[in-house]
């Protein structure tokens, strides 16, 4: 006859045997963790030391990013600005709309001549803004809510300077890089171009000595809002003649020129505003004529990089372009959608127009500003919107 203690100890032994069975090898823990959203993973860093070192490992970051891209763990990054409080906000929202989540607030940002630009690559967003005299750049990871302010690349200035930042991803070294091109223009001196590269792995600027293929005679040699697109480790930006792109290869650190298809940029240069965007991993130029009589927008996609083959896609807006709030394309998502600029529909709601290239349909996604304690709904202006993939890249 079993005594009570004997029976209890048998039960306890069984239970502890059962518990002892459930211990996974590290590769299985990695498999499971790589399928989680970033918020959960960051929380689980405090489970135990082995988990923390597993999560902090760069190979885990890579595995997680690959899984996130495949499983469409993506969201929208939005930048907003409140001129009354001089604060800048980074927000995020789910891909199909909903309420905006606050990520980061930047204080005391200049309000004059506010031009902003942003680029997303592999989970990180480069955000820069300038007031005509100073230009500031930030690298943001919207998934981990972290931001890195880039140090000033150049300490001295000869005359007037124009500082441009461009985002790139070097596939050969698997790291993000920021290209800085500073143009110094002083009277009776030839303009001087300075080129520097910032790599996230060592958090510092490195000056490079490379031949610049343009003859810079004026201050603005780069077209428009200095938007760049990085495809295959090569950063592209449009030149002021609107017929060519300046290309910088991050692997070889050399410049070259890429010609745009001559049909892509029509003759009416005054009204035309070509934009560079990345569509389905390829370089694209979007032309929309601001005085257009029809509702069509053309997207010229560089399908064959080597042979310079451009293919045209037509997007037809359902209503007149001005009725829709004059949307211009800002980014692409999930390899088949194009995201247009934000349109404030009411105090609480901002609309984003999205176009699906496969189905040829538009949809309007609503973003709502629920009760954010610091965002003033009347004054806040939304500027940039970018689609991003979840990633754990540390900043």
């Amino acid at each position: 006859m079993e005594t009570l203690e004997q029976r209890q100890s048998t039960i306890q032994n069984d239970r502890s045997q059962q518990r002892a069975k459930i211990s996974f090898p590290e590769e299985i823990i990695e498999e499971i963790l790589s399928r989680l959203p970033v918020k959960s993973i960051l929380r689980f860093k405090s489970v135990c030391k082995p988990w923390r070192s597993l999560i902090s490992n760069p190979s885990f970051t890579k595995l997680h990013s690959t899984r996130a891209a495949v499983n469409h763990r993506t969201a929208l990054f939005i930048s907003a600005h409140d001129p009354s409080t001089r604060k800048r906000y980074f927000l995020s929202a789910a891909h199909d709309g909903g309420s905006l989540t606050h990520l980061i607030t930047l204080d005391n940002t200049p309000t004059r001549c506010d031009i902003t630009e942003s680029q997303h690559l592999n989970g990180l967003v480069l955000f820069n803004y300038g007031d005509g005299y100073q230009n500031y750049a930030f690298v943001v990871n919207p998934s981990t809510h972290k931001v890195l302010k880039l140090p000033n690349p150049t300490n001295y200035a000869i005359g007037k300077t124009d500082i441009c930042y461009f985002f790139g991803f070097d596939e050969s070294r698997n790291e993000h890089k920021v290209l800085n091109i500073t143009t110094h223009v002083a009277p009776s001196v030839k303009p001087v171009i300075e080129i520097m590269i910032f790599s996230l792995s060592n958090y510092s600027w490195r000056k490079i000595d490379v031949e610049f293929p343009l003859i810079v005679s004026q201050f603005r040699w780069c077209y428009g809002l200095k938007r760049s697109v990085c495809v295959n480790s090569v950063i592209h930006l449009m030149l002021v003649n609107q017929k060519e792109l300046l290309a910088f290869d991050l692997r070889t650190e050399k410049f070259s020129i890429v010609k745009i298809c001559s049909d892509a940029v029509p003759h009416r240069i005054i009204c035309n505003r070509p934009h560079l965007i990345k569509v389905d991993g390829l370089l694209g130029v979007v032309c929309h004529d601001q005085m257009m009589t029809n509702n069509d927008v053309y997207v010229w996609i560089l399908q064959d990089y080597e042979n310079g083959v451009w293919v045209r896609e037509t997007i037809t807006f359902p209503k007149s372009w001005s009725v829709l709030g004059c949307p211009f394309p800002l980014d692409s998502a999930n390899m088949e959608e194009i995201i247009f600029s934000l349109n404030k529909e009411s105090k609480n709601v901002t609309g984003v127009l999205m176009y699906n290239m496969k189905s040829g349909c538009f949809k309007s996604v609503q973003l709502t500003l629920d009760n954010h304690p610091f965002l003033c709904k009347e004054h806040v202006q939304f500027q940039q919107i970018k689609w991003y993939v979840e990633s754990m890249v540390p900043l």
């Binding site: 299985i28 499971i32 929380r43 809510h145």
Partner: protein
């Protein structure tokens, strides 16, 4: 079966049982030596045998399961064992109990039977099978993960790991420790510091 036949039988039966046997001009019409057949067998194992070759799997608690080879080779581990010639009588699987092995076999059977998800109906059917398959208690689910890992069945590992990921998504670190039987090796100060680094994730 052919091992037990002598050359006389082979002479008589070869044209019946080996219809696609290539006949070279020099070989006799009906007579094939045992070594020729053995040689042919090693080069074309599937054409010799009819497609229903079965493999016997033995679980850790001694139970045996006979499965079609096509089902068994969903496991890369078993596939390599067969290729390496270790599958003579039965394949021992000392890390898998009979309860789990029968579930794994059920999974592999369904995935082999379903044609490759070209039709919408077949795809939906497989999805709902997978969804029901993982509706088991946590201990069984964890055992399935270990079995899928040991047997190297990628689709089962993906399914079970994804299920566990969805299960633990919203948990707190303490709940995670309970689920996976992990000891907290942080000091209270260390844990507080790790929490502070990403405080927003705990809201």
């Amino acid at each position: 079966m052919l091992k037990n036949l002598n050359s006389k039988h082979i002479q008589r039966f070869s044209y019946k049982y080996l219809p696609q046997f290539p006949i070279s001009p020099n070989s006799p019409k009906l007579g094939f030596s045992r070594s020729q057949i053995a040689n042919y067998r090693s080069n074309f194992p599937t054409t010799i045998m009819s497609s229903s070759k079965t493999i016997v799997l033995r679980s850790s608690d001694g139970e045996t399961f006979e499965v079609d080879e096509a089902v068994a080779v969903e496991s890369q581990t078993i596939k390599h064992m067969i290729e390496d010639g270790c599958a003579d009588t039965s394949i021992p699987l000392p890390n898998v109990t009979s309860k789990i092995l029968s579930k794994v076999i059920e999974y592999c059977k369904k995935h082999v039977e379903t044609p490759n998800a070209d039709e919408k109906v077949a795809e939906e059917d497989l999805k709902s099978f997978d969804a029901d398959f993982v509706k088991v208690d946590q201990s069984t689910l964890f055992d399935l993960i270990l079995a899928a890992n040991y047997l190297n069945i990628k689709s089962l590992l993906d399914l079970t790991c994804q299920t566990v990921a969805d299960m633990i998504k919203g948990k707190t670190p303490e709940e995670i420790r309970k689920t996976f039987n992990i000891k907290n090796d942080f000091t209270p100060e260390e844990e507080e510091e790790v929490r502070r680094e990403n405080a927003w994730a705990f809201e």
